[in-house]
Amino acid sequence: MLSGEPLSLDDCQSFVAHPSCGGLCFFVGTIRDLNLGETVTHLEFEAYAPMAVREMRKIAVAARERFGLHAVSLHHRTGDLAIGDTAVIVAVSSKHRKPAFEGCEFVIDELKKTVPIWKREFRADGTHWLNARP
C-alpha cells in the first residue's frame, strides 16, 4: 500500500496477526539525519503509483510462497517526510520465527530493488535524487 499519511505499526500488526502464528517480524525504515556524511533536512518520496502497488503485491505474494508465511503487509509513504518519520513498514506473520525474519528481510530487500519509488534528499547543498547518479 502507498500512503500520503503517517504509517501505523499497530495497523500492520493487526493485519498480519493470527492465532495460528507464533512469530511476527517487522521492519520499519525511518528517515536518518545523516546520509553519506551529509546533513539531511527532509525528504520527498515520489512513486509511479499503479506500478509500485503491483510490484509491492508481487513481492508480498513471492515472500508468502517462498517462506510459507501466513500474511505480509507492506506500506510505503509518499510525499514530504521529516527526519525520524517512517518511510516504510514491512510486517510478516508465520508459525515460527525463522521464516518470519527471512521473509521480512526478503521483502525490504526486494522493495529496494524493484518498486518504482524515488527518494529526493534535501540537504544544505541542494537536492539529490538518491541512487540516480554514479
Binding site: R54, H76, I108
Partner: protein, 87 residues
C-alpha cells in the same frame, strides 16, 4: 502495425530524476511505436543525453518492467524508471 500510430509521437512518462531531465512529467518521442524497447532507449539517449549520466534506467510498459527486445505498441503506457530508491 498501424502506419498512423507509427507516426504519432509517443507520450513517455517521467518520474524522479527523469522528470528533471525531461523538464516535466512526460516527454514525446516520435517513430517509437512498432520498434523495440532497445531502440526507444537509443532514441532517448540521443534526444536527452543527460539520461546517459544516470547509473542506469529501465523502461516500463503497461506497469511492468520491459525487456530490451519487447515491442512498443501504440497505446502502451511507457514510463522511464530511473534507479529506484524506496525504503
Amino acid at each position: 502495425m498501424d502506419k498512423l500510430a507509427h507516426l504519432t509521437p509517443m507520450k513517455i512518462l517521467c518520474f524522479g530524476v527523469a522528470r528533471e531531465i525531461a523538464g516535466g512529467s512526460h516527454l514525446f518521442l516520435d517513430d517509437v511505436a512498432g520498434g523495440t524497447v532497445a531502440s526507444l532507449r537509443e532514441r532517448l539517449l540521443r534526444d536527452y543525453p543527460a539520461f546517459g549520466e544516470l547509473v542506469s534506467f529501465a523502461v516500463a510498459r503497461n506497469e511492468e518492467y520491459a525487456e530490451d527486445t519487447d515491442i512498443v505498441e501504440a497505446g502502451d503506457e511507457v514510463v522511464i524508471i530511473p534507479p529506484v530508491a524506496g525504503g
